[in-house]
């Protein structure tokens, strides 16, 4: 009996599948999982430290991971400092956001996101905006950090201490430089664990 010929394309496909599975597992996802979507809410997309690093990082993750999608919501629609590789909506579209997690990047965007149906809102505290800023109403401030739907992530160890002392909450992670891959990993792991 002739020896069965090895299907090279099949072997390649299996290798690619293994690679893809390994890649997805970095984010705590499996290949058979539903497509995961994460929403980001920015104040604007014009040039700033946060938007530059954030958009760069989102684009990088979009290129790397096939099973993860992003949507960006912005309070002020203006020209973006880097063309994003994912759809951009106005915050008014947040009312149609269900099920998937949202990552907000300021007190203002967190307040706005709380009006949506997002089950969990991850408030990524890039700046300690509440220090020496009397224009924030104390009720708004408390909501943005202490609402049961809000989980707080900070970008530096010293920010963690200040936020925890000020609001009496537990910060769920420290992620520097708006590293979207790390943020996604944390958010998706929490979601999978049903938190």
């Amino acid at each position: 009996m002739a020896k069965k010929k090895k299907n090279v394309k099949h072997t390649e496909a299996v290798c690619r599948k293994v690679d893809a599975a390994a890649e997805m597992s970095k984010l705590g996802l499996k290949l058979e999982d539903d497509l995961a979507i994460i929403g980001f809410v920015f104040n604007h997309l014009a040039i700033s430290h946060l938007t530059y690093l954030g958009l760069n990082s989102i684009n990088q993750v979009c290129r790397t991971y096939a099973g993860l999608d992003f949507c960006i919501f912005t309070q002020h629609l203006m020209a973006s400092c880097i063309p994003p590789l994912c759809p951009v909506f106005s915050v008014s579209d947040l009312s149609r956001w269900h099920y998937y997690p949202l990552i907000t990047t300021s007190i203002g965007t967190t307040i706005e996101a709380l009006a949506s149906n997002a089950p969990v809102i991850y408030h990524y505290v890039f700046d300690l905006e509440f220090i020496d800023k009397p224009h924030f109403e104390s009720s708004d401030l408390k909501l943005a950090f202490c609402d049961p739907r809000v989980r707080v992530i900070v970008r530096h160890e010293s920010h963690k201490d200040v936020v925890e002392t000020e609001f009496g909450i537990k910060v769920c992670g420290i992620i520097p430089d708006c590293n979207v891959e790390e943020l996604a990993k944390l958010v998706l792991t929490e979601m999978k664990n049903g938190n």
Binding site: A46, S48, H49, L50, Y52, F126, L128, S158
Partner: protein, 252 residues
Amino acid sequence: MQDKEKVSIIIATHNNAKTVKRAVESVTKGVRPADWVIVGDNDSSDGTYDTLCDLLGAKQVTIDDKTGLPPEFDGELNGVPIKIFRKQLSTIGHTTNIALQMHWQGISIFGFMDPTSFYAPDKISQAIRVFHQHPSVACVVSDCDNHHSDGRTERVFRNSFDAQRLLANYEYDRNFLVRTQIFPKLKQGFNEQMQIREDYEFLLRVSEVGLIYHIPAPLHHNTIIESDEALKQSIIQHEMGARQLTTQRRSS
């Protein structure tokens, strides 16, 4: 720490005899000291230049039958070459620009420093790390600790850079580091017409050619000196002037 950067720290002084020694020492020690330090004295009357000469061991010289401290001196402190010079009274911006032009060949990063401040040991190394990690970063700023005259130390949390926020008010201070490559794009150094807050005007221009990166750690220390009402008013006026210049530039 091994890196290929050449870091030059520029300090422009005017009556800072009490704090200048600490400032210079802070950049010659630490995790990653500077490769070069230039201190320009803006005709101080409180012995700032004498302090600098003492620190570097500069001896009196006689020129045309007049004996005094040399107008320029090249010395070394903790193995770091330091150049000091004094000049007639003008603006701090003018003194800084002269210092910048004194030694720029081969320099890849310029650090600016308020003579009343001092750097934390890892400020230069942290800035170099950021420059290496993010090629689009033109300037690195950081949080700081403020030391008050009553002995209090206050941790200052600054906001990250946002073009609109920086235009609305001055978030940072003079203690920042910039890449040398941005100077051809800026077309000029510090604004020599401004009596104060030329650093604000400079940062506004830097923000138009590259990203300002904010490190949320206290990487320098400021000595807080109480300012009188006239100085406060002057600061407000000069900041407003810097904003107007920026708005005009952007609209044109």
